[in-house]
Symmetry: C2
Subunit: 531 residues, 2 copies
């Protein structure tokens, strides 16, 4: 990356921020082959179904089935492999230097919208080769992934003061989504078309009464994601009210659709300018400028890959215990239970989440209640015949690791170095040869980068996909965003002003949650210093 930093610094010095921005983004995306991908999880060969059936994930690298035995096809026993993620006896969780709890909260809310492995409360309905993704950043956790779901979530009223709104209920003078279950504990008929929250097996009766009717089946998974959805719910209704006031002749449908246009672009702006810049290890702040994408060869429609789906399992960020104000709670108790959010209100919830730290991504650091998720992810990589860790390093333009010590890296702290050496030996024991190391395990075997919350291979892949997915959004196309007249029609002048005025989540919290005051809301810890 040294050449890159030199060029960036040179351009930066010349005050060519837009050019630097385009250069960095272009470079991040062009490290490997662009879409359209020739393969998918439908078949291990190239087929018309594979090229067109978007209920399967695409593939960056072709399948490497075990039937073709050899390097890269080693699959140690699943139960042994998952132990690599478990904390060592008596050892505390390593914490991330940079991130607050708002980072994983946003990451989960974002990725639950388009990384949608076909999971279900009914095991027979699960298929980890398939996806229910729309393959777009479309705020589907808020709006649903189908027109019928969107319809169920909308108020659909032509009455003044109600046009274009999403359904809400008021609790302690604040707006929330309606509850999903009726007093009888059964899903309300109006919400039957929604996807049921995942993980119902683990649902408690107290939790059940607090779950929201939302667009995404992972919105209620944790109180932090429910909080995020509540924020965008309120902002949608606030924007709809603004549009209705300015455009008295618009019907419910037009107010809704235009509010959604504004919300999606606002969300993408947060993705690039707050979230990606939090991940970013350089000092140059990136902007959500789509113009560089209009003529880019990588401007091809999104299609989630099996690799992207796996690399975003940041279960490792979840802490064993969550602090909420002055109380510590087992992390477990904040799943499928929105009581803390409802009790604290939205503003204080954002402050509470931002006051948490996160665990550090990596092996030997998982919260005890998240090991089942790691097991599922490893199995998913195997079911999909995903190629090896070193093959992905190579394809991303990184040097393949020559041995396990190179994978796990080193530390100048003797204790940590001892752990790393032992970890390399564990990996060696399981895989024998470094080229056999599985992709998923390899991703999290690396140490997180200096000045960032992610390890190297993972962050390289995230950057490629994030830019090529966010900036190719249909609303940011040359003919909508890039055409002044169409941009005004699609977003309205007042909508564009709202987007322009939104730089961080805190801005949105501030206008939708009473009582925020000077409370800290952010993804980067205030104590963090660049190394």
């Amino acid at each position: 990356m040294s050449l890159l930093s030199i060029v960036v610094k040179a351009l930066d010095a010349l005050d060519l921020d837009d050019e630097v921005n385009r250069f960095v983004i272009d470079r991040a995306v062009n490290v490997t082959r662009n879409r359209p991908h020739p393969w998918s999880t439908k078949h291990d060969y190239i087929s018309w179904s594979g090229l067109t059936d978007r209920s399967y994930n695409a593939r960056l690298l072709p399948a490497r089935p075990v039937s073709a035995e050899g390097v890269g096809t080693s699959r140690p026993p699943l139960d042994e492999t998952v132990k690599l993620f478990a904390r060592l006896p008596g050892v505390n969780q390593r914490l991330c230097a940079k991130s607050t709890g708002l980072f994983p909260a946003f990451a989960q809310y974002l990725t639950d919208g388009f990384i949608r492995t076909m999971l279900s409360n009914d095991d027979a309905q699960e298929d980890r080769r398939r996806t229910t993704s729309n393959h777009e950043i479309d705020l589907s956790p808020l709006y649903g992934r189908t027109p019928a779901q969107t319809s169920a979530l909308r108020l659909k009223s032509e009455s003044p003061g109600q046009r274009g709104r999403l359904k809400t209920q008021v609790i302690n003078h604040e707006d929330y989504s309606p509850f999903l279950f009726g007093a009888d504990g059964v899903v309300k008929p109006e919400f039957a078309v929604l996807d049921l929250p995942l993980g119902l097996k683990r649902l408690t009766p107290e939790g059940r009464a607090t779950l929201f009717a939302a667009g995404g089946d992972r919105v209620n998974a944790a109180v932090q994601t429910a909080m995020m959805n509540t924020l965008f719910l309120r902002e949608h209704n606030r924007v709809a009210a603004m549009l209705e006031k300015r455009h008295g002749d618009w019907d419910d449908e037009r107010v809704f659709e235009t509010a959604r246009n504004i919300m999606i672009v606002m969300f993408i702006k947060i993705v690039v300018e707050e979230y990606i810049n939090h991940i970013n290890t350089t000092e140059f702040p990136l902007q959500a400028d789509p113009s560089g994408a209009w003529r880019a060869k990588w401007n091809r429609p999104n299609w989630m890959t099996v690799e992207f789906s796996l690399l975003y399992r940041w279960h490792g960020l979840v802490m064993e215990n969550v602090t909420w104000g002055d109380m510590a709670h087992p992390g477990n108790s904040t799943l499928l239970n929105n009581s803390l959010l409802l009790g604290s209100g939205l503003a204080q919830s954002f402050v509470n989440v931002s006051a948490n730290r996160t665990a550090s991504l990596g092996l030997e650091n998982a919260s005890s209640f998240m090991l089942f998720a790691e097991k599922g992810a490893i199995a998913q990589g195997r079911l999909n015949n995903v190629a090896s860790y070193n093959e992905y390093r190579l394809t991303m333009g990184l040097e393949p690791a020559r041995n396990f010590a190179a994978v796990v890296g080193s530390s100048d702290k003797p204790d940590e170095q001892a752990r790393l050496s032992a970890l390399a030996a564990r990996l060696q024991g399981l895989y024998g040869e470094v080229n056999n190391l599985e992709y998923y395990v390899g991703l999290f075997s690396e140490r997180v980068e200096k000045n960032g919350p992610l390890p190297e291979l993972l962050s390289t892949m995230v950057a490629m996909d994030a830019f090529s997915q966010a900036l190719t959004n249909p609303l940011l196309s040359e003919h909508v965003w890039g055409n002044k007249k169409n941009r005004q029609l699609a977003f309205t002048d007042e909508g564009l002003a709202v987007i322009e005025g939104t730089k961080r989540l805190r801005d949105i919290v501030d206008r939708n949650a009473p009582g925020l005051g000077t409370g800290f809301v952010g993804m980067t810890r205030r104590e963090w210093k660049r190394a």
Copy 2:
């Protein structure tokens, strides 16, 4: 177009055929805005649903609703407007100088695959704002438009000699699709998932017994399209047999998928090299070379437009009477009735169809039994608030017509000139002002071009869409077709040889229909001479 011809001739003289090819194609596509289109038929404004819901057509130009009265919103009474298409009393059909009946047969079979207005035998299920298209050239008339339909049409057998095949029946020693209806006149249960043939209201009992179980609901519409489907059915099974023989370890699924890969690319080759070259008015023969598309800015996913859907209503090519061997039949009697095909066999049917001429596209020339279709098309344009004829000329880089005489053109034959002058007066009487002329009526008000079967605006729009849709097919992408290793994997060496060896429909007929001999099969009349 004179600058274009000079450049083409210059490059041609230098023997730079590939460059000419790329130049001509690029120029044809770049006459107007590329995809992604900002508008669709979902809303009259820009919306996320409009940008993503592919069950609606896209739009090249924004909606021009009548509520915004003014130029371009004139809509004369429907019954008066459709009369423009009817032949004048006692006047014979004008015939096309260039085309045989094979041209409309192929055009219909091709476009029925992706121009799929949501029509139905049940009026309540129709929605002329919507489409059931996959938006790809995917041979859906043969394979169905959904995985479930494909599955119903496949033999699905692992037995040697049956792998990868589509279902067939043998009649007079030749293969055809199975019949759709059982002896009881009811759809066979195995085909319940197929879309019913359209136009069942007009079905006769004799016709019913001859209808095929096919992928497309328009395959049985005319004997010519059923013939075309039979050809590709046999070629698919022939290719599958070839693959099975060479790849004894492949299962049914892989043989099927690979045969389909080969068939789709073979079909696209016919589209460009036989069909488009038939439409082409220049002498330079175009080739189906996708490499120019890989870096083209117009390489964006297909999405059928409402304008494209309307311009391809070439009902006007249908003759009042069809000759079949030595017999004349009312054109009407060849609809929803495959008796002629079954009686003659495939080879003789192709010869018979190629021995027909076609009517000439244009007003005052429709076959009596096709007027209902013109009425539906005009209504569809209005329902979708399609902009005016002159707006489309302008957006395609053509000069807008200044008056109705300029629209209808002129002739040096006094009788024809008299008709044209009278036609211009009729148009003036209906629309008043030339800028009010509707798109659909305007398209067919123009005379066909010299050396081609289409009028000017129509052929300009066909060229743009044809290339940008055919050459952006996922199988022709840089990473499949453009990558030697992947190309071999996707098509096999023997499959590539079949594609290479196929230049015209006749080649496919020759290897699948016994008894063709030296019979003429082609889209261009043997008598035709370039003017």
